[in-house]
């Protein structure tokens, strides 16, 4: 029986190629899309879920409740953990983690490698499942000068992991560490990323203030005893910091957050958890489902549209003795077979598109045909096949043989409206996607051209390390640097210019509200930095070599002056961390964070100890040459260290990575939605043309022109699309505005986006529809009117 169904199906494919091609294109596109999204979603859902104790691991976070805003901080102070562990029996183990502030230069014999790393507590490898493959887990921290390396870093340094234990490596040319263990490379499904770990105690030696209550450079992770009630625990520790600091730090409320949830649920607004990446996971899952359903609808429309040619077959089969069940089975078989053919094509597409898709999403997705993937593929395909086959199967097999052998078939009004409704939905979705693409594109363009208040072009930066760590050497180094051909100016800072780097409190000024705990961004600048970045000085001056003791002077941005409500600030004194500082200048507000954020108050001070980055402005058009020169220069002035630089404007682009990803993905989805919707419309038009064949024939016999008939047939669909436009435009207006409101600075929307999207869809529709209606209108009326 199955063989019979298959033979019949294969022959009908051969005979009716066009509907087959439309169906297979629609289904395979939709499947490709769904498979890619499935791979992405499944990857997202598995991030950080590989830790053996993932259900017990929690991140200690803090809610910061300032007068005018509430925020959530992932950091805490280093001192809280030992106190918590001592007092709270619910805690099984705890570890503190501090990130190594920059790329570290590691030296082994003649090799230099730059790597990222963490300072971790002794229980780090017990809590998290990063397996240690060389070295004894119990003795890795016996010596304080221990370092653990990742498998690939060890291989890069020593060529092998075998004899690495016990070897000494030179760290930043400052300190030597002994390798005590090798851990397996951090998997891509981890949100953490580090190539070496040092002990947290080492960090405290370098930066003792980590153990002060006011500091915030530590991440704390707790492994709770099984079945701990975390809600109750959070209540218990609510006032922990307040109590321990004798009500000094009253705005800080610590709480636990499940570590494995952080990746997907990482966004906070006003101290309340509001989505995160899970929003995109949900969004794309829905899009995948939509596209799949739209393609299935197309299949249904096409199958039922071409019903007349199958009617005869159904009638005969029923008369000969086929039961309804047999027929349903036959049509479902056909749909499932088609779905599997589409799957085959889709797999080819997926393999071809995967590199591109990985690039857009920033993932390393691969296809490994394991049982999970196979089951997922089979279920997606069966779902598609059965869904798209169900309606035709039930619809076609339900006919009475006596009626259809006579060639009579009436389509109910409900059926027609169902199809029309489906088309309206398809087009509404397409319009929303098109408008979104336009708005996202405009916003990204806006971001790129936005005047940030400083110039980010032709500026490169690199870490301060090696010899330059000596404060007395900075001056010599910078003077020589400025003489390198191609270099326009050079200075030194601590800040990335692309996000918060250091928020500080502890200010006092005339007329300050004692409850004001507002944190200021703290920028550290060397001479020439403000000039080099073209930051406008509104009052007073920037730091300069011509003045003495600049470290007792500060500069504020406008936002800070407004916040402090100071009149004629230059010359006034404020207190910062207990020391008196004179305000020497006020700079114009500039965007040191992403455009998602408003400009916050900022303090700029001169503090050579805390400088960590060199910034160099190079001449436009001579970038390559300048960098080559800098490389040579660096070898001479900072021997042994690698000249590892990046461009400021590239870092700026990275701030908007997720917007750019959405932009690209939504562009693809918009194209797909339009393509599939057009296929759907094509199906519906051919259905209508078939149904109105007789009417068209009669009109022609009575002398109507082809053009008019074509117009008549098209009108119906253009109306549907107009309805979709009326529905889609307001929805997309609301959606895009809510997306844009996430940017404190946005390009806004313009009526033109909506008009363009509407017109585009309308033109595409008319083109699609007219191909079919013109054919229908030009048919020989005799054929249509001839009774079979």
């Amino acid at each position: 029986m199955l063989k019979h169904h298959l033979i019949l199906y294969m022959r009908s494919i051969k005979k009716y190629k066009i509907p087959f091609i439309i169906n297979i294109i629609g289904l395979s596109t939709a499947l490709t899309c769904s498979i890619l999204i499935y791979l992405w979603v499944s990857d997202e859902l598995h991030v950080d879920k590989f830790h053996k104790h993932q259900n017990q691991i929690f991140h200690l976070m803090e809610t910061l409740d300032f007068a005018d805003e509430k925020s959530v901080s992932p950091h805490t102070s280093g001192i809280i953990i030992p106190l918590l562990v001592e007092e709270m029996p619910e805690i099984e183990q705890a570890t503190r983690v501090a990130k190594y502030p920059k790329n570290a230069s590691i030296f082994v014999e003649d090799k230099t490698i730059k790597a990222d790393g963490y300072y971790v507590g002794k229980t780090f490898f017990d809590i998290f499942s990063f397996p240690i493959i060389e070295g004894n887990k119990n003795t890795i921290w016996t010596n304080t000068n221990s370092i653990l390396l990742s498998e690939s870093l060890a291989k890069n340094l020593f060529g092998t992991t075998q004899n690495a234990i016990g070897k000494t490596i030179d760290f930043q040319k400052k300190k030597k560490y002994v390798v005590s263990g090798i851990f397996k490379d951090v998997p891509t499904k981890s949100s953490e990323n580090f190539d070496f770990v040092l002990s947290y105690e080492e960090r405290i030696l370098v930066q003792p203030n980590l153990m002060e209550w006011g500091s915030s450079g530590t991440y704390a992770y707790l492994k709770m005893k099984p079945e701990t009630d975390v809600v109750a625990f959070n209540l218990k520790i609510k006032d922990f910091i307040k109590q321990k600091t004798n009500n000094d730090q009253i705005y800080r409320t610590p709480f636990l957050k499940k570590y494995s949830d952080e990746y997907l649920y990482g966004n906070y607004k006003d101290g309340i958890q509001t989505g995160g990446r899970i929003t995109y996971v949900k969004l794309f899952s829905i899009i995948a489902l939509f596209i799949l359903i739209i393609a299935c609808i197309n299949f249904m429309n096409l199958s039922t549209a071409k019903v007349s040619r199958r009617l005869k077959e159904i009638g005969i089969k029923k008369a000969i003795g086929a039961s309804k069940k047999t027929l349903v089975f036959q049509y479902l078989t056909e749909a499932v077979v088609l779905a599997f053919m589409a799957l085959f094509l889709a797999m080819i597409f997926v393999l071809l598109l995967l590199p591109e898709f990985n690039q857009i999403t920033g993932k390393q997705l691969t296809i490994t045909l394991d049982s999970t993937l196979l089951i997922a593929l089979l279920s997606i395909t069966l779902f598609t096949g059965l869904l798209s086959g169900s309606y035709p199967a039930l619809y076609l097999s339900g006919f009475k043989p006596a009626t259809i052998l006579k060639g009579k078939l009436n389509t109910s009004v409900g059926e027609l409206w169902t199809r029309k409704g489906l088309v309206i939905i398809q087009y509404t979705i397409s319009i929303i996607l098109i408008v979104s693409v336009l708005v996202i594109y405009k916003q990204i363009e806006f971001i790129q051209n936005k005047n940030l208040g400083y110039s980010k072009e032709q500026v490169i930066h690199f870490d301060r390390e090696g010899k330059t760590l000596d404060n007395n050497y900075i001056h010599t180094f910078l003077s020589a640097l400025k003489k390198v051909p191609g270099v326009v100016n050079a200075s030194c800072t601590r800040n990335r210019m692309t996000g918060n780097s250091w928020e500080v409190g502890g200010f006092d000024w005339e007329g300050k509200d004692p409850n004001d705990y507002t944190q200021f961004e703290h920028m550290i600048a060397y001479y020439d930095l403000i000039e080099m970045l073209n930051i406008d000085v509104l009052q007073g001056r920037a730091f300069s070599e011509n003045f003495k003791s600049e470290n007792t002077k500060v500069i504020f941005n406008e936002a800070a002056i407004n916040h402090m409500n100071l009149k004629d600030p230059v010359g006034k004194t404020i207190s910062f961390w207990g020391k008196q500082k004179e305000i020497v200048g006020v700079v114009k507000n500039f965007h040191f964070q992403s455009l998602h954020e408003d400009i916050k108050p900022m303090l700029i001070s001169f503090w050579p100890d805390r400088l960590s980055k060199f910034m160099v402005k190079i001449e436009k058009g001579r970038e390559k040459e300048a960098i080559a020169n800098l490389n040579t220069f660096y070898k001479e002035y900072n021997p042994n260290f690698l000249f590892d630089y990046s461009f400021l404007d590239e870092n700026y682009q990275k701030l908007y990575l997720s917007e750019q990803r959405i932009a690209k993905l939504s562009r693809y989805f918009a194209v797909l939605a339009i393509l599939i919707s057009c296929l759907g419309l094509f199906g519906l038009v051919s259905f209508t043309a078939e149904r109105r064949k007789k009417e068209v024939g009669i009109r022609k016999v009575l002398g109507d022109s082809s053009a008019h008939i074509s117009f008549l047939l098209s009108k119906e669909f253009v109306k549907l699309v107009l309805v979709a436009i009326c529905l889609g435009l307001p929805i997309s207006y609301v959606l895009t505005n809510s997306w844009l409101s996430g940017f404190a600075y946005n390009a806004g929307t313009s009526i033109w986006y909506f008009l363009t999207a509407g017109a585009f869809v309308l033109i595409i529709t008319i083109l699609t529809v007219s191909t079919q209606t013109i054919i229908a209108a030009n048919r020989n009326p005799v054929e249509a009117l001839k009774d079979e």
């Binding site: 019949l8 077959e313 005969i316 008369a319 039961s323």
Partner: protein, 220 residues
């Protein structure tokens, strides 16, 4: 007696009006009969044939087929009954264009769940009987109308039904082809197959043993 219709009526509702298709039909068929149903267009010939063939239902009356009350049977039993005992021949042959002669012939057997070797044997037999062995791998469109109808009859006969229902079997054929088909029916009837045909042609009606004339849904 093979089948009997007692006071069978059928009507449809159209625009609030009741339109009668069959009125009070009383009619019986014995095994071995060759019956012709005649009448002008719209007199209800095809409807009557469809009712007998259980492809269509009726609103009133009783229908007994081999001592079973068809009007009381459930859809599933009814379809089993006609699957087992009836074969249909259509005016426009109604072969499936995508299947070869052999596959068309095989189709009813598939629905009756014959196994593969039985199907092969029966198809070979019938090809032989109708002298169309050489055409078994051709598609219907490659055959003449007469040949297609021959395949149609062969398909109706393949599962050895007790009753053949033929709706104007020669309506689309030229006179020579028509005669051949009628001769085939006559031969089958001699072998014991019961046949009911609907026809317009007096000449074809002559082949039958009994003629039933219909007018406006009633037997006259």
């Amino acid at each position: 007696m093979l089948l009997q219709l007692k006071n069978v009526s059928k009507w449809v509702q159209s625009g609030g009006q009741k339109i009668s298709l069959l009125k009070d039909i009383n009619f019986w068929v014995n095994e071995g009969d060759f019956i012709s149903i005649m009448g002008p267009s719209g007199s209800g010939k095809s409807t009557l044939l469809n009712v007998i063939g259980m492809l269509d239902t009726f609103n009133e009356g009783e229908y007994t087929f081999l001592d079973q009350s068809v009007h009381k049977l459930r859809e599933k039993h009814r379809s089993n009954l006609y699957k087992q005992y009836m074969g249909f021949v259509f005016q426009s042959y109604h072969l499936i264009d995508e299947l070869t002669v052999k596959e068309n012939l095989e189709m009813p057997l598939l629905y009756k769940k014959y196994n593969s070797s039985e199907r092969k044997a029966l198809v070979a037999d019938i090809l032989d009987q109708f002298n169309i062995v050489g055409k078994k791998d051709l598609f219907p469109t490659q055959l003449s109308g007469g040949q297609q109808q021959l395949v149609g009859i062969a398909r109706a006969l393949i599962a050895s039904p007790k009753l053949i229902l033929a709706d104007e079997p020669t309506g689309n054929l030229n006179s020579k082809q028509g005669e051949e088909i009628m001769e085939t029916f006559k031969e089958l009837n001699k072998q014991g197959v019961t046949i009911i045909q609907v026809t317009h042609s007096e000449k074809n009606a002559q082949y039958g043993s009994r003629v039933i004339n219909l007018l406006d849904g009633s037997i006259v």
